[in-house]
């Protein structure tokens, strides 16, 4: 259900605007028509700050140095750290410095590895050697290429070898023309002790930064408060920016919408303020924001409607129809009673906050409901944890009687069920389209729609009735002819009254082509409900088989059996859930919304309030 909205038009003196908007903000139910995006530099800057501060809080909340080897140093830095007022830029500075340090440490550790073969030495000795007129040449060759005779020919000293390579130096006087068969490598920049010292210094700096970042965590509550404040400030700013000025900027015009249920309270409050306002019932033309009002069950599915787009004011709210069918489709795609139980427990855990994953926040009841439906449908389809319940001996016969197995007309019963549900869903969509469009645009504009509805739904009902045997073939024949004639008149001749009948017939033929190809495709699309359910069930059975093979005769076989079964079914649950979420959503958004003529171009109701979370 879409809540009825009342449109308020305000005229106030320009000087009163800010005061007025603050009072409206306190009331918290008026959606002043305003832009949702920044309109100028000021608002853009505020939005940037808001985004930065969100990121900062996220980074700070994720900080965890409890496993850091330099914990003691970090703690010392933490005690001495002082965080300035502007926590956001402080954190950015520190994280940037941390990144640079990490790069330096990697480079330094590389350098350490290069120096390792040269061991420890005193750089000052090298300097003395250079002053005396000698220089050192450094070489590294693979062990095989090392020629022992070199040691006799040149003043050579092997520094180290690790079996694969040999590192050695050759001394020469500065004046002589020194030539050696192998190419020289650069001298080590210093001893390994020096390199290690440098690295330790860098790590110490890093601990300092980490300590300061830990201290910055204290700023999180202040940041959150500031964030809330700036959000409502931005909202106010955008609302006043949306106002229209008149009478040489002396007067400001504002438009707002509020649910009609608040009419009494609002008129009281507004009368107390010094503003001139007109309250009238909102019409589709005004494009009022949409507030959905549904019972507890349907309310859980409102986020799904939000994903596509809110209904336009004069449309039907699709959520009450979306809810039961999405639940049914989800259950058919999961197709396993055991997984239904797992989902019910998971939903309970999310609701009680035992499991706290950001993505599922607030979705606990929805998950449990879907799990319950999956359990029921899983029993009907005869699968639990990949086990075929129909062929299991421990299942009572009473339960087996409600399971759908076997074939119907040459095709598996479950497949026929999926297609049948599809046909029903589409017929429902077409009926809703006919009723909705007639309500919005009048009967004359929709004769063609009613004609198609009569033809298809009427045809199916008659086919069903004659199949069951209620109607005799005589009556069926006449009924078919009657329906055919009436609907043909509606589709081909009268589809747009007042237009050239030949053009009508032409457009009727075009409609026929679209309907024939479109409907066939849409109905067959529902086969995926059968396919996905079957695939999930077979994958579960495959994991069970794998487990059984490993189990063998028992004994130690139980351990791999349990591991395989638990791992396998967990993977299967996750993947089935993904498929069972996406494909029913696609069926609803594409097949159902298209056939029910749903536009979904409405905007969400977003009143000016003091506390903002988005």
């Amino acid at each position: 259900m879409i809540s009825k909205m009342t449109k308020y038009s305000f005229i106030l003196l320009s000087g009163q605007t800010d005061d007025f908007l603050s009072k409206i903000q306190e009331l918290g139910v008026m959606d002043i028509t305003r832009s949702r995006k920044p309109v100028d530099e000021n608002s853009a800057r505020t939005l940037d700050w808001i985004a930065e501060s969100r990121r900062t809080v996220e980074i700070l909340e994720k900080l965890d140095y409890s496993n850091d080897p330099n914990l003691a140093d970090i703690h010392k830095a933490y005690k001495n750290a002082i965080v300035p007022e502007d926590a956001v830029s402080f954190v950015k500075e520190q994280t940037d410095a941390l990144e640079t340090l990490r790069g330096s440490i990697t480079a330094a550790e590389n350098e350490l590895r290069l120096r390792a073969p040269w061991g420890n030495f005193d750089s000052s000795h090298l300097k003395k050697l250079a002053l005396s007129g000698y220089e050192l040449h450094y070489y590294s060759v693979p062990q095989k290429k090392f020629d022992e005779s070199w040691e006799a020919q040149y003043p050579l000293q092997v520094i180290s070898s690790d079996g694969k390579n040999v590192w050695f130096v050759v001394v020469s006087s500065k004046d002589e023309d020194f030539v050696f068969p192998i190419a020289e490598i650069p001298a080590p920049g210093g001893s390994i002790d020096e390199a290690q010292e440098y690295i330790d210094g860098l790590y110490y700096q890093m601990s300092g930064i980490k300590g300061r970042l830990l201290r910055a965590k204290d700023a999180i509550p202040a940041l959150n408060e500031e964030y809330g404040r700036r959000m409502s400030e931005l909202d106010l700013y955008l609302a006043s920016a949306a106002s229209q000025k008149a009478a040489e900027d002396m007067v400001t015009l504002l438009v707002g919408f509020a649910p009609s249920s608040e009419d009494g309270r609002l008129s009281e409050e507004l009368d107390k303020m010094d503003v001139l306002y007109i309250a009238e019932a909102a019409t589709e033309h005004d494009n009022p924001p949409i507030k959905l009002r549904n019972n507890r069950f349907v309310k859980m599915f409102e986020p799904l409607t939000g994903m596509y787009g809110m209904p336009v004011y004069s449309e039907f709210d699709p959520t009450p129809v979306l809810a039961p069918f999405f639940m049914l489709f989800f259950a058919m795609c999961m197709g396993d009673a055991g997984y239904g139980i797992i989902l019910m427990l998971f939903g309970l855990a999310v609701h009680k906050k035992w499991i706290n994953i950001g993505m599922f926040k607030g979705l606990g009841p929805l998950i449990s409901t879907l799990g319950a439906a999956t359990f029921a449908v899983g029993i009907i389809l005869g699968t639990a944890f990949g086990v075929n319940l129909y062929e299991a001996s421990w299942v009572p016969q009473g339960l087996k009687n409600i399971m759908l197995v076997g074939e119907l007309g040459g095709y598996p019963t479950q497949m026929v069920l999926a297609v049948g549900i599809g046909v029903f869903h589409i017929c429902l969509a077409m009926t809703i389209k006919a009723i909705g469009y007639t309500r919005r645009f009048g009967f004359k504009a929709n004769i063609s729609t009613w004609g198609w509805l009569l033809l298809i739904v009427g045809g199916i009902i008659i086919a069903a009735l004659s199949f069951i045997g209620i109607m005799s073939s005589e009556i069926t024949k006449w009924a078919v002819i009657a329906i055919g004639v009436i609907s043909a008149l509606g589709i081909y001749v009268f589809n747009t009254p007042g237009r050239n009948p030949l053009v009508n017939i032409g457009s009727g033929l075009w409609d026929t082509y679209n309907m024939a190809t479109g409907l066939l495709g849409d109905v067959l699309s529902y086969i995926r409900l059968y396919a996905l359910g079957l695939a999930g069930g077979m994958l579960g059975a495959a994991f069970n088989n794998l487990g059984n093979m490993v189990l063998g005769d028992g004994g130690f076989g139980w351990i791999p059996f349990v591991i395989i079964v638990i791992l396998g079914h967990t993977i299967n649950v996750a993947m089935s859930c993904l498929g069972a979420f996406v494909h029913p959503l696609r069926l609803t958004f594409v097949e159902y919304f298209k056939n029910s003529g749903y536009e979904g171009k409405g905007t969400k109701y977003n009143p000016l309030t003091l506390t903002k979370t988005e």
Partner: protein, 139 residues
């Protein structure tokens, strides 16, 4: 020989359809990744459009299930012919549908209101995969 042909057709029908869906959904998914960087608000639209090319693989699988009881030795060449054609249709249908969806996703990320029309254009190549499925079920 007949049996080998029959099995070949059987396998190609499933395999090519699955490959098509894999490529199609990947094309659309890659576009969605880029679109998320530009306009993360519409992520649900991207998800729906990315899922559209998944249909052909499902159709190949359903046809596979329907054919499991067939006599491959007796109908080998027939099953080969139909199987390969169904597989090829689903392959190209899914790949091209993925490209249409990818363009739609890019359009939505740029702020154009093209979701409904994209779904209609995406359904056009899908129609031929449906015809292929019906053909596979009819023999």
């Amino acid at each position: 020989m007949n049996e080998i042909l029959g099995y070949l057709g059987f396998g190609l029908m499933l395999g090519l359809a699955g490959i098509g869906s894999a490529i199609g959904t990947t094309t659309a998914g890659n576009a969605a990744e880029g679109a998320l960087k530009k306009n993360p608000e519409k992520s649900s639209s991207y998800m729906i459009l990315s899922a559209l090319p998944a249909t052909q693989g499902l159709y190949g699988f359903v046809a596979f299930l329907m054919w499991m009881g067939k006599d491959f030795a007796a109908n080998g060449p027939l099953l080969f012919g139909v199987g390969v054609s169904v597989g090829l249709i689903c392959l190209f249908s899914a790949i091209r549908q993925g490209q249409v969806c990818a363009n739609g996703i890019v359009g939505i990320s740029q702020g154009h209101d093209v979701q409904t029309n994209t779904m209609i254009y995406a359904a056009l190549p899908e129609f031929y995969a449906i015809l292929a499925l019906v053909a596979a079920l009819m023999i």
